[in-house]
Point group: C2
Amino acid sequence: MNSKSFAIKGDICYSISKTELLTYENRYLICIDGLSVGVFESVPEKYSTLEVFDYSGKLVIPGLIDLHIHAAQFSFRGLGMDNELMEWLNSYAFPEESRFSDIEYAKAAYTQFAEVMKYSATTRACIFASVHAPATEILMDLMEKTGLQTFVGKVNMDRNCPDYIVEDTDKSAADTQDWVASCINRYKNTKPIITPRFIPTCTDRLMQRLRGIQEKYGLPLQSHISESPAEIEFVERLCPNAEFYGDAYDSFKLFGNDVPTIMAHCVYSGEKELARIKQNGVFIAHCPQSNANLASGIAPVRSFLDMDLRCGLGSDVAGCTTESIFRAMSDAIQMSKIRWRLYDNKLKPLKFEEAFYLGTRGGGDFFGKVGSFETGYELDAIIINDEPPKHYGKMTLKDRLERFAHLSIGREPTHKFVSGTQIF
Amino acid sequence: MNSKSFAIKGDICYSISKTELLTYENRYLICIDGLSVGVFESVPEKYSTLEVFDYSGKLVIPGLIDLHIHAAQFSFRGLGMDNELMEWLNSYAFPEESRFSDIEYAKAAYTQFAEVMKYSATTRACIFASVHAPATEILMDLMEKTGLQTFVGKVNMDRNCPDYIVEDTDKSAADTQDWVASCINRYKNTKPIITPRFIPTCTDRLMQRLRGIQEKYGLPLQSHISESPAEIEFVERLCPNAEFYGDAYDSFKLFGNDVPTIMAHCVYSGEKELARIKQNGVFIAHCPQSNANLASGIAPVRSFLDMDLRCGLGSDVAGCTTESIFRAMSDAIQMSKIRWRLYDNKLKPLKFEEAFYLGTRGGGDFFGKVGSFETGYELDAIIINDEPPKHYGKMTLKDRLERFAHLSIGREPTHKFVSGTQIF
């Protein structure tokens, strides 16, 4: 028995499928060597020597998974939220990201980001940095110290963005190669991920170079796809030979298959694109608040679930104002209702169980067996003091969980474990 | 000079029109006898003996106005948010509201509500209680103690709701008469408001009786209108002689003119209904989060502004999960973008200045000269420690205000004044 072996007592909830949420009051979750052994009414005899963390009366749930967040945009959360996408990128996102050429600025900004992430409900995240490799390493140093498990990407872009932030193609590739070589074996919790911003800002030659680096090191990839109508039209003009947006990524062999891939948004992915996403095993990061804030639209998340696509939630800070994946669950439900009402009443709104699945196990799949407490899953857990109103009387555990998800902003977990290691 | 005369020093923001937000760094807001005298670079000589509250570096803004909130639904915020309207009413709202027949339950639940409202950013609110007059008086007692200025309504409903909560017509009217007589002169800050739930749950005879009580005491009125398609069809069947939903209220003389009236929602109000709303001076309570959560739709708030209708924001707890009118501002902008994208690209999304206006001066107009710091306005003010990130550098005051509005959940004002009286 080591420090990654223990029992947690509390009110335990986790997903075993898209629609099935298990809830157990006053039970024991057993963790051995960082992996869940399961949930028991009492501590089994063979585990009787384990330390028991007693969180009686509190919610014990898998850590939340953020498949898409921009660390370099964290400082201006909440600004320009009445702008549309291109206006917002040019007025806020690009100018702010350019500041990360300054190491001191990067340290200050990323320190705040890492601190917020550490104490949030999120245990794993896929993170965009900026184009600057040195600042990206600073971010990785800071994220490593949080104990969260993350993929962090130096962003690549060599066209269609302002002069003050555009990269030279060769330098972008060389910087990426050097950055990967420098960081790939440096950390325990923090790994590099290839991060072309998206097709509009990456030349074919850059994409080919990134594929080379990806192959050499066997790296995963994250990018954006089919977020807004104007962007999609632009990609059609830039890639006349591509059958659809995702086909452009696929033509560079940067769209799933041997490359673990996350694509954010898929608001307007058509049948063919979704079929390719399924065929190639691409993960979708559904980012409902950002899609609303930037006037992009509402992604058909019901279709993603019906088609059994791999899908999780992304906060997409600063398109979204908060890193909270609870808020993303709440927004995913809310936006699915608006979509149903205004746009397509054939796609039923999400149920809470489905939103919770997306924010835990759905996204967790990108990290392996993560996001549930089933036997063999890595034990990421957060402990929540949800304080249901006493006068209301007994609430079911499912109601308590749903309530907290919707009311959680500003209320952090009291304890957090990542892969069996206690963070706080 | 009395205790309602003082100066506040800080970073001051307020609306002077739908589109004009004034911002002043490091200035003095002068309050004499509870009314704003204006904002000055230094304290004018004639006011030199005033006490100065020094909130340097903090935001000083008008208190927020909530034109529509259900106190009796506060306890189950966040539950059933994946239900649609009728399912939610029958599973959550009606069962919970029925519990307010129990005085002890009402005390416990309303105590929590009043406490949250007191420390929120809201200084004035129009509140629905339940059908129970004794519980409504308890709520009024509690709200009076908060120092907030509120209108509180005992709800009326005598048809089309479950047996366990439906009222007998005569008893509903008699209870309302007795309640109004009992409370109308009892409080300084808290006033009764006639509150038929909405046409579907109120017979013609009840509406006529309520008009009688309204006339006798000169009371204002609050209700719901044109929230969801099924409700509107139902009203068409119930009121075959009404030209439109609002015409049904108007037929009872309970739709503006001599009756200060707030109608929540107007998601589907047609041209004729909006014209009548304008003609009669009815206030619209725009409740964007609730309209999304209950799958109602998105109200055309841009049209309300273009038509110069009287309009403010409502939280509509528990259709909305939070009492925060900052969140309502954020949601109003967000939903206006989704509406523009998915439904009607002729109605431009809201700008921040417009959302801020709606949440302060727009709603404040219902209470008189309230919701701004112009000379002669009642001085409702909240003080906010917004803590912009230091590394980011200087933010404009408008940016700080916008940022806080979007990030504010879980962060309360540090100080609050209502009509010149300090609450905390």
